[in-house]
């Protein structure tokens, strides 16, 4: 039923797919970090239309499936002359989608900085740039690291969806193998084991980060 020989034969294909998965994960996450920051800042903006746009964007992204968003960008935009490669489309959609969730992490991080810090910085006459760079962000960023790590793992687990728009990631590679050989057990088991081991190892590191950066840990030190 389960042939290790066959598994070893298809492993190079799956590993090539895993490289694409990793590219999509980090590419998507980098974009999500930027999109999330822009959204978090936009929601604090004094201009009402900007706030409304950011709220609407977040609501829309969180209430529609990533799969349909992928289809939309991949199949609709080309008829308007905008043509991206499948992988780029995937990275774009992952970043735009997860960015809507990450905005909330930034918001929580910034809100967690005590009011006294803002007041003290302002009474010292700090301009916006040093206020943010030297006072707020150094305190807001460390507690954000563990939740951001969790979103990175979450994004990694969303990447198999890119196979639906023809990206040959690790799942797409397994689909190709299965389609050619009519053997499903080995490729899909291998994908499950690969995804599981990567996310377990990553989760271990996130837990370590949590211990290091959580406010409780600092107090007890």
């Amino acid at each position: 039923m389960f042939s290790f020989e066959f598994l070893i034969r298809i492993l190079p294909d799956l590993m090539r797919g895993l490289v694409v998965t990793v590219q999509a994960t980090f590419g998507g996450f980098a974009l999500a970090l930027v999109v999330g920051l822009l959204l978090a800042l936009g929601r604090r903006s004094g201009v009402k239309p900007v706030r409304l746009f950011c709220d609407g964007y977040i609501a829309f992204m969180r209430c529609t499936p990533l799969l349909v968003q992928l289809y939309f960008v991949f199949y609709v935009l080309p008829s308007y002359g905008i043509r991206f490669s499948a992988l780029f489309t995937g990275i774009l959609c992952l970043g735009l989608h997860i960015g809507a969730y990450i905005a909330e992490v930034y918001r929580a991080g910034i809100d967690a900085v005590p009011d006294g810090q803002w007041e003290a910085a302002k009474s010292l006459g700090l301009k916006p740039a040093p206020l943010w760079l030297r006072v707020i962000l150094p305190q807001a960023l460390p507690p954000m690291i563990p939740p951001l790590g969790n979103f990175l793992i979450g994004l990694f687990k969303e990447t198999p969806l890119l196979a639906a728009i023809t990206v040959v990631d690790v799942f797409g590679a397994a689909n190709n193998v299965a389609g050619l050989s009519y053997r499903y057990n080995e490729p899909y088991t291998a994908v499950a084991v690969i995804l599981l081991s990567v996310s377990l190892v990553a989760a271990y590191f996130v837990r370590k980060l949590e211990r290091r950066y959580s406010p409780d840990a600092k107090r007890s030190r």
Partner: protein, 218 residues
């Protein structure tokens, strides 16, 4: 977007039929996932070390591999072992198992968040274990769990789109079919996105209401 043309092509009724299937799948899966969440959540808190290990493995495996991979596993590999489930059952089971892993964490966290004093108080009043949970712990824990379960329900609405890849004719699948028959890519995918939004967005109000309700009880 030429609305009359779309109406003539019978697109919207087809998509609405798909949306109805999406809602039905969401409801059935939600019930299954909710029940499983409590079973697994409680088992993880059981004193027996083996029960704990098994349920922890269940949660880690289901959370560590993607929902779509799990659905493919059930859809393509179970038949090879002589277990052929109808596609809808596969879909409900796959999504339900996947979500129960996340849901059980909500249950576990909700119960652990109730202070030890409540347990001691119940014991001092001479309540049995079952009474303690039924009358003291669960009423408080359930309120605290509500917003998280609401968010999980929103994730479920979106996750049902995955089962289009294992041939279930829900909203996303109907969209793909209508694109093939009419070629109106832009209009159809826009409509599909709007329909998902219309189904999922009202749930965010419920989540916000639940958050306010839970905050009042804290």
């Amino acid at each position: 977007m030429d609305l009359n043309q779309l109406l003539a092509l019978d697109v919207l009724p087809q998509l609405l039929k798909g949306a109805a299937v999406t809602l039905k799948l969401t409801l059935i899966t939600a019930v299954l996932a909710f029940v499983l969440s409590f079973v697994i959540g409680f088992l993880r808190l059981a004193p027996n070390a083996w029960v704990q290990r098994l349920t922890t493995a269940y949660v880690e495996v289901l959370r560590g591999t993607s929902a779509i991979v799990q659905l493919y596993y059930l859809f393509f590999i179970l038949p090879a072992f002589g277990i052929s489930l109808p596609p809808t059952t596969t879909a409900v089971l796959g999504l339900g198992l996947n979500l129960s892993a996340y849901g059980s964490e909500i249950v576990r966290a909700g119960i652990l968040a109730i202070s030890q004093g409540q347990h001691e108080g119940a014991a001092a009043l001479g309540l049995t274990r079952v009474q303690t949970y039924r009358l003291v712990i669960l009423p408080q824990a359930l309120v605290a769990m509500l917003p998280s379960f609401g968010n999980l329900l929103i994730e479920l609405v979106k996750a049902t789109s995955l089962v289009s890849l294992i041939t279930i004719t829900e909203l996303t699948f109907s969209g793909r079919q209508m694109v093939v028959t009419t070629g109106k890519t832009m209009e159809i995918w826009t409509l599909v996105l709007i329909l998902y939004f219309v189904m999922a967005y009202p749930l965010t109000w419920i989540v916000r209401g639940a958050e306010r309700y839970a905050a009042r009880y804290r």
